[in-house]
C-alpha cells in the first residue's frame, strides 16, 4: 500500500518512528478541515495561520516526546488542541491592557474626569450667588424680563403677554438688563468664571 493511502494511526506511528514524510501526509490530508475550523472561529486569516502553526508545533512535540496515546483518533485530537489554542487566544485578547506610570506616560493623560471637583463646585456656587446679587441691582422692569427669560425659560411673546408690553419692549428691557449687568461687572471688576 502506498504511504499516502495509509490510515492516520499508521502514519502517526511511522512519524514517531522517524518518517518525516508521514507528517506531511497527515497535514496534507487534514489541513483543510483543521484550518477551516480555526478560521470559522477567529475570522482572521493571519491569526488562523498562527493558530494552525501552534497547533502542529504542539502535535509535533507530543508525538516526538512519545506522549501521544490516542491512536486511531488523530483528527479529533488535533482539533481539540486547535480548539484549546483558540480559547487561549480569545482569553489573551480579552485581558485588560496594563499601563505602568512612567515619566513620559501618565495614565491620567488619557483618563480624565470631567465632573467638577469640590473647589470648582464651590466657585460655581459663589459665581451664581454673585450673579443673583447683581441681578437684584437691576431696575425692576429689566430684572423681571431677565428672570422670566433666563430662569423661567419663557419666550419673549409669553413675557410680553404676561407683563402687558409689546415684544419689542420686552426685547429692549432684556437688552438693557444685559448691558447694565455688563457695566456693573466691568466697573467693579467682578470675575464671574471659575
Amino acid at each position: 500500500m502506498a504511504i499516502t493511502q495509509l490510515p492516520d494511526a499508521l502514519l502517526v506511528k511511522s512519524y514517531i518512528d522517524g518518517n518525516e514524510e508521514a507528517l506531511a501526509i497527515l497535514i496534507n490530508r487534514h489541513q483543510s478541515k483543521i484550518y477551516g475550523f480555526i478560521y470559522s472561529k477567529v475570522s482572521d486569516k493571519d491569526l488562523a495561520n498562527d493558530i494552525f502553526q501552534d497547533t502542529f508545533i504542539k502535535v509535533i512535540k507530543t508525538l516526538k516526546g512519545n506522549s501521544y496515546n490516542e491512536e486511531g483518533k488523530f483528527l479529533p485530537w488535533v482539533m481539540r488542541i486547535a480548539h484549546n489554542l483558540i480559547i487561549d487566544t480569545f482569553r489573551k485578547d480579552r485581558k485588560m491592557p496594563f499601563f505602568r506610570e512612567t515619566e513620559e506616560f501618565s495614565i491620567f493623560s488619557v483618563m480624565t474626569d470631567n465632573s467638577p471637583n469640590i473647589e470648582n463646585q464651590i466657585i460655581l456656587e459663589q459665581v451664581e450667588n454673585d450673579l443673583l446679587k447683581l441681578i437684584d441691582e437691576l431696575p425692576a422692569d429689566q430684572r423681571e424680563v431677565l428672570e422670566m427669560r433666563i430662569y423661567q425659560d419663557m419666550s419673549f411673546k409669553e413675557i410680553a403677554d404676561l407683563t402687558g408690553v409689546s415684544i419689542n419692549t420686552a426685547l429692549g428691557r432684556m437688552r438693557y438688563a444685559l448691558l447694565n449687568l455688563r457695566r456693573i461687572i466691568e466697573k467693579n471688576q467682578i470675575i464671574l468664571t471659575n
Partner: protein, 47 residues
Amino acid sequence: MAKLYTEEKNVTTDMYPKKETIDFILSYSKALKIVQVGTEKMELHSN
C-alpha cells in the same frame, strides 16, 4: 420573465493554510529532536 425567488446556494470553497505555514511546520519538525534525560525531556533544535 418571472422573477425567481430562490437564491443560489452559497458555494463554500475549501480553506487552506498558507504554504509558508506548512513549510515552517515541516522544517520545525525536521529540526526538532526530543531526548529523554533521566525523568526530564529535552528539546534539541538543529538548524
